[in-house]
Assembly symmetry: C2
Homo-oligomer: 141 residues x 2
DNA sequence: TCATACCTGACTAAAATGGTCAAGTTTAGT
DNA sequence: ACTAAACTTGACCATTTTAGTCAGGTATGA
């Protein structure tokens, strides 16, 4: 299970983007300044977000990034997936004789992790970027 | 956020223990054989479980471990806590000017992680060892 | 007294994390 | 045409965490 700062940064950056891209593309430099994330690291993250069609890039001077969908249609699950935050709890080794091979003899706790994954994913599937932006506005910008 | 195989092993071992400790203490050796976890690693884990009063040890020949409470009273949250699996998503750095200091200027996604933590913890607080043992029985031993 | 089993702490290889650095390419504006 | 802003790509790396192993104990029932 991974849920680290890369995922957090991705979300922070996208919320920032959602709030400021009304008119012009937003540069990583601006996001970096506002959110306190290094540009170099943001570049890594945005490269992935772009590949997953969450943002579009505008190159050249005055360029930057823009959301490629409505914030309502961008769920957290999409974001995490894009930056390789896998909500996989623990893998059962394929080759182990004991324990779980995923087929006949499920390991003693296999169902548990499945349940947990569903539990967490359902949370992420409900939350959209729009929700977060609203939440931010409510809590006094 | 950490949810790794140490936590998984702890749960596996305890479910095993819950099923076999009816009469005698269960040795780590037996658990090791049944669950495919190295004895040395189990010792680390059980040391922590013991400190957190989840199991009791019986030393000497024919010794082993016994649950120190009813399986119904051992929640997953207790187990994870014992083996230092913190369900902490991401920490906001204390010293960073930007972002979150936990007080006045909550970082843009702070509420989100709080919500998520609660969501996950509630799952762990509901599940007891007994639930897992039952679940195992249902799914054909 | 000896075999079994717990107990403790040091150690470590490999992977993940959280980045940095360098060397580009693209394009708006002058 | 030039230049500066901004995206693009990929290599690199220090630190921390993970998932253990190893060695040398101590306790105790038979």
């Amino acid at each position: 299970m991974k849920l680290t700062s890369k995922g957090r940064y991705a979300v922070m950056a996208l919320v920032d983007l959602a709030r400021f891209d009304n008119i012009n593309p937003v540069s990583l430099r601006d996001i970096s300044l506002r959110q306190g994330i290094s540009i170099d690291y943001l570049e890594q993250i945005f490269s992935k977000l772009k590949k997953n069609n969450i943002v579009k890039s505008v190159r050249g001077n005055q360029g930057g990034y823009v959301l490629s969908k409505n914030p309502n249609d961008i769920k957290l699950t999409n974001i995490f997936h894009a930056v390789d935050e896998k909500v996989k709890t623990v893998q059962c080794k394929k080759d182990s004789k004991k324990g779980c091979n995923g087929k006949a003899t499920k390991c003693i706790t296999h169902n548990l992790w499945d349940e947990l994954e569903n539990h967490i994913n359902s949370f992420f599937e409900k939350k959209s970027l729009e929700d977060l932006v609203q939440n931010k506005k409510e809590s006094r910008l």
